[in-house]
């Protein structure tokens, strides 16, 4: 209540009319609201990480990392097979998805200034938004139905399909940042086009392209939905690509919904392993980008 008095105080009078109390209060209130939204958004983040660390660290142990699941009802055991299964499927996905994505990115950046390029660009963006479970259906239809088996291959194919659009678009962006003069210099030396693209353009953009690959990798590493009816899951060791295979996110899902406390404990431990994997990938990427390893990006 002191504010209006001082505002109407003749000593403070300027030729410009002072900002009214209502407007000043609104300004402060809205600032407060904005701060509140930040708090509300960060609260779940802190809560999630807090619980992951609190519950996860308590349950992680050597057995968890080296043993396969114990039969229902018995305590102990671990998720070693799921960790290896995830690695297997991510490997398959990378073998298929990374070259395809980078190739499509090169096409868009180097040859794609036309109708076809525009439609591929748009398709990649649209594919990015397709629900992962729908990708799962497609992998089921093209791999599982032919193999007559749920398999690691089907899971890998589903994840590969999800990686391609992300890698493609980031590769394109990174290649476009490479100065045209570098390409021209290479042409001037008589270096063939393909050699220029691979050894000069792509080489210059390497760290940016790797960023894109890592982001895609981090994104699919935690995917569960497309694995539900492609890889299916497995309680035992499996390294064959034509057999049902365990995956870390699948195992977390199954254990979280189970009625056993010991499995809940392991679900938290699995979640911690998964998040450490993903966050370190993302943080590494961010650091690399911040360092400016890639020119004037």
């Amino acid at each position: 209540m002191r504010v209006p008095n001082s505002a109407s105080n003749p000593a403070l009078h300027h030729s410009v009319e002072p900002i009214s109390l209502r407007r000043r209060v609104t300004d402060h209130v809205m600032t407060g609201v904005a701060v509140l939204t930040v708090v509300l958004v960060l609260a779940p983040l802190i809560a999630i990480f807090g619980y992951l660390v609190y519950k996860g660290f308590g349950s992680i142990n050597w057995a968890f990392l080296t043993q396969t699941p114990k039969p229902v009802g018995e305590t102990g055991g671990g998720m070693a097979n799921a960790i290896v299964g995830s690695a297997l499927m991510l490997g398959i996905a990378s073998i298929i998805g990374v070259p395809l994505g980078i190739g499509a990115g090169i096409y868009l950046a180097e040859f794609g200034r036309n109708r076809l390029g525009d439609s591929i660009r748009f398709t990649a963006d649209v594919l990015n938004g397709v629900p992962s479970i729908v990708i799962g259906i497609v992998a089921y239809a093209i791999v599982v139905l032919h193999q007559k088996h749920f398999s690691a291959l089907a899971g890998g194919v589903a994840l590969a399909i999800m990686m391609v659009p992300t890698i493609c678009r980031t590769t394109e962006e990174m290649l476009l940042l490479v100065p045209q003069a570098l390409r021209e210099a290479a042409y001037g030396l008589g270096i063939p086009r393909w050699r220029t693209t691979l050894s000069v353009t792509l080489r210059t953009a390497t760290s940016g392209v790797i960023t894109g690959v890592m982001l895609a990798f981090a994104r699919v590493a935690g995917e569960t939905a497309p694995l539900l009816f492609t890889a299916l899951g497995n309680q035992f060791w499996n390294l064959r690509t034509d057999q049902p295979t365990a995956a870390l996110p699948l195992q977390i899902y199954t254990y979280a919904l189970s009625p056993y406390d010991d499995w809940h404990r392991q679900a938290w431990a699995g979640a911690l392993v998964l998040i450490v994997l993903i966050v370190s990938a993302v943080a590494a990427v961010r650091l690399a980008v911040r360092r400016g390893t890639f020119g004037a990006a």
Binding site: T37, V41, G129, G136, G222, I278, V282
Partner: protein, 345 residues
């Protein structure tokens, strides 16, 4: 797009190739690099076609998705026709399928998520671009991005063991007491149900909406802000008049992109929504979404009609998200066109 004034090496046309040939023809014994240029002609073509093939593969993936979904859902389409989308019975035993409860669940949970997430996301974006000290800007956007990197299944895990008990113990009894008369908040407070799904979805889509909103807000020209301030606006008035109004199309794009993500989100929702194909007014009641019915029933679907009905749900989900995403992209593009594409959704 292509600037005709700049020489582009990817311009089609045989002339450069011919020139190289001629030069290398009479000077081949002297300059080795030019010789390489001629010998690079075939590899060049092979390389280009290989890259075109990769590009076409992206189109191919989309065509493959559409073809598989349409072909494998035709059985269900022929048996139920359009009624599939308006009937609410889901009876695998008698092979009677209607997708209405799933469509309802998907829409309601996504809308609920938007109602919660949009104000929060815009608030965060406004705070990071307009209010926060520059030192905090980097870490803040990093933390919000981190929220986007958490896998869906971990959200689900957290929701089951933390959010749901919180809802059933405190939030739901409170809502029932204060707002129970609306009919939206009645029934037993189990925690699991539509409300939990909406909240967890909201947490998941905030980063998408706020990162797009931030991107759009930064494109608003600085002189707009300065003009508003010079006219005597307070900071909030400046934000409202100069910033938010200029950015609304792009923000709308971000919101729609968030909607697209919410519609297709599977794991976290499946874990907390209760998975019962019923249409209930109360947000405390369990529901079911299109994505969760696929997650729960697909691998166990026996019988061709059952599987086909599930794939038809997948097709419907796919079409809706395609339309929603395309719309969002167009809106965002219309605003951010011309700016360096550093920020990714």
């Amino acid at each position: 797009m292509a600037n005709p004034a700049i020489h582009r090496p990817d311009m089609p046309g045989p002339q450069p190739v011919e020139q190289t040939k001629v030069t290398s023809g009479d000077a081949s014994h002297r300059t080795a690099p030019l010789l390489q240029a001629t010998s690079g002609e075939l590899p060049d073509r092979v390389f280009k076609y290989a890259m075109v093939a990769c590009g076409l593969a992206v189109l191919g993936i989309l065509v493959l998705i559409i073809y598989q979904l349409v072909a494998r859902s035709s059985l269900s389409w022929h048996s139920f026709g359009f009624k599939f989308f308006v009937r609410s019975d889901w009876d695998p035993v008698n092979e009677l399928f209607g997708a209405l409860p799933f469509i309802y669940g998907t829409l309601v949970s996504s809308l609920l998520a938007l109602i919660i997430a949009v104000p929060l996301a815009i608030g965060v974006a406004v705070f990071t671009t307009e209010m926060c000290p520059p030192v905090l800007r980097g870490p803040l956007s990093f933390f919000v991005e981190l929220l986007a990197a958490i896998p869906s299944v971990i959200y689900g895990l957290w929701a089951i063991f933390v959010l749901v008990p919180l809802l059933s113990g405190y939030v739901q009894p409170f809502l029932a007491k204060t707002l129970g008369w609306t009919g939206l908040f009645e029934g037993p407070p189990y925690g699991i149900g539509m409300l939990a799904a909406g909240i967890i979805l909201a947490i998941m889509i905030v980063p998408i909406i706020s990162s797009i909103a931030r991107e759009v807000l930064t494109v608003v020209p600085q002189h707009q802000r300065e003009a508003a301030l010079a006219l005597g606006a307070t900071r909030w008035e400046m934000i409202r008049v100069a910033v938010l109004r200029n950015a609304r199309a792009g923000i709308a794009g971000g919101v729609i992109l968030g909607l697209g993500r919410a519609l297709g989100e599977t794991m976290a929702v499946t874990m907390v929504i209760g998975n019962r194909p019923e249409i209930a007014k109360s947000l405390f009641a369990p529901g079911y979404t299109m994505a969760s019915v696929l997650a729960n029933e697909f691998s166990e679907a026996t019988g061709d009609v059952y599987l086909s009905a599930l794939i038809e749900i997948g097709l419907a989900l796919f079409l809706v998200t395609i339309v929603v995403n395309a719309l969002a992209r167009l809106l965002v593009w219309s605003v951010t066109r011309g700016m360096p594409s550093g920020a990714r959704a």
